[in-house]
Amino acid sequence: MSAIVAGLVVLAAGTYALKVAGPMLAAGRTLPPWARRLAELMTAALLAALVATQTLASGTTLIVDARLVGVAAAGLAVWRRAPFIVVVVIGAATTGVLRAAGWN
């Protein structure tokens, strides 16, 4: 648990530094366009990486299991503009139902 707490403290301190930099430093200053752009695209790249690995990875191996179907169903819900919580519930419930039916 102490390693987890240390990791959280790093995350908290770094996140606060990122958040407070603007309000503390910027009296009329703005970030250069390339920095804003990188921050944007970084978010897209990391979110996509998280989707991909948490759908297909099990430790360091790649497998196709019930999660893939669940995430595909969630993707359909996203496409239909379902609210966030509905997307999450559809993803989890689809996967849970498939597991209950005996498919891993």
Binding site: G14, A21, T43, L50, T53, G59, V71, V78, V88
Partner: protein, 254 residues
Amino acid sequence: MRSLYRTLWRSSRDPAFTKAFPVGVAVAAYGLSYGVLAVAAGLSPLVATISSIIVLAGGSQFAFVGVLAAGGSPLAGAISGLLLNLRYLAFGFAIAPHLPHARRRRRAIDGYLVVDESVALGLAGPNDAVAHRFRVAGWTVVTMWIGATALGAYGGQLIGDPERFGLDAAFPAGFLALLSPWLVHRPGRVAAVLGAVLAIGLTPVAPPGIPIIAAGFGAIVAMRLTPANLPEVDDAPGGGEPTAGNPQRHGDDS
């Protein structure tokens, strides 16, 4: 007691609050699932609750526990979360000009309140009340996010084995919803595809957590590959990303 009542009555008629409240409800739903999943990933309920107080950035907290759940180290989880939070640097700079004449301590608190929802709701509307809308939305998110995390963390233990209910698929489903606003423009799509391909390609050969961090290079490559035609982010946090008031937007990422 009487002044508490008066405060509640006044805020129930404040348009900034009536706008922020539904967003707060979505944040609460998200916080509830974070609490459950954080405990499933190995955090104690107390640590899970404290994490929401000290980090207050939902997407990165999900990333952190997601990396842990996949067997990655806490440090790899923290770095993934921080890369995800780089956008708050841009958000902080977007809201800063609207917080004038504030004292240092006030600005330090304003910095804590910088989340997707507060910046989006703050900047949506007339210019003279940006700071007020930002702070009202910020405190709404703080209350809902922390309270819901505690509820999920302490109540989630009643559920039992989370995999049985497909809760491990709740992570990628949630991230997919958060990702969707970035898929409307080409640079966002290129970055997303590159990030996903890099992470999957590295999974068999790199320690858990590292593929997520390496996916950040996808953003750098996408920047070189696509023209700089992202919508301006001066007025819209997230550069063209639909704001919280827009039905296109999914949930939150406090």
